[in-house]
């Protein structure tokens, strides 16, 4: 699925950098009804993980109160050049990944 990742391409060692992610997902709450009264089943992303060169640096549990197309912003210390891997997991077997590279000088 489409995801927008914002990670600085370059950073100095020890800098605190902001990581912003946006992924497209309906985040259906499971509390809405159709006009004829049927409950629309829940379909949300329940978990987000960010790994930096394999080590988990940030994790989130998401609930129906997170808006559609979940946006997350968080920080990390730029330690070494390498790769950030992002993973979204959700209802109905939903899974999506993305990655971004950084050069640390």
């Amino acid at each position: 699925m489409a995801a927008l990742i914002n990670v600085p391409a370059k950073a100095r060692r020890g800098d605190v950098i902001e990581i912003r992610t946006l992924t497209s997902h309906i985040m259906e709450t499971g509390f809405r009804h159709t006009v004829d009264g049927k409950l629309v089943p829940r379909d949300i992303i329940t978990s987000f993980t960010c790994r930096y060169n394999g080590a988990e640096i940030f994790r989130a549990d998401l609930f129906p109160a997170i808006a559609a197309n979940p946006y997350l912003s968080f920080f990390t210390v730029a330690k070494e050049s390498g790769k950030f891997e992002f993973e979204w997991i959700g209802d109905n077997g939903y899974s999506s990944t993305a990655s971004a590279s950084i050069t640390v000088e």
Partner: protein, 155 residues
């Protein structure tokens, strides 16, 4: 036998009542402050929660509850000895009291997370931070919502 107006109305009323009851019993429209407390205790346990150190940035007046920007930051040096382990956001009156749990560590550098949330009503939003010494700190903010999220009909 032709249906009289009285019969029709009582029948219609009965159907409406029968239709209403399961909705009311199966799905409370809003979480209650008691549900908020239970959700908080599920995370915090019996530990005392102190006020302060946490900052919750959320607009006090929201026109559209479907997407409300929220930023939570905690005053913390984020060292191995003194850092924020997790940040939890709760609401008072959505159908479910949880909004999100965010897990950080000393490698985060700065204890701040931002996201966008849904608010189904004018209500209180609570942010709680768990520090590395397992103390809990909280802050609450009141938000006025003019267009509610979550519970509208889907077309």
């Amino acid at each position: 036998m032709p249906t009289t107006r009285r019969q029709f109305l009582s029948l219609a009323g009965g159907v409406t009542a029968a239709g209403m009851i399961p909705i009311v019993t199966l799905r409370p429209l809003h979480a209650t402050p008691a549900m908020l407390n239970t959700a908080i205790r599920n995370v915090v346990g019996e530990a005392p929660i102190r006020t302060g150190r946490v900052k919750l940035d959320i607009p006090p007046l929201v026109e559209n509850g479907n997407t409300v920007p929220v930023t939570v930051s905690v005053a913390s040096p984020m060292t191995a000895d003194d850092h924020v382990k997790s940040i939890h956001i709760f609401n008072e009156k959505n159908p479910q009291p949880n909004i999100g749990n965010f897990y950080l560590g000393p490698s985060s550098g700065r204890a701040q997370v931002a996201t966008r949330i849904r608010l189904a009503d004018t209500q209180k939003v609570v942010a709680i931070a768990r520090l590395s010494d397992d103390t809990f700190w909280q802050v609450a903010a009141d938000v006025v919502v003019t267009l509610a999220a979550c519970t509208e009909e889907m077309n």
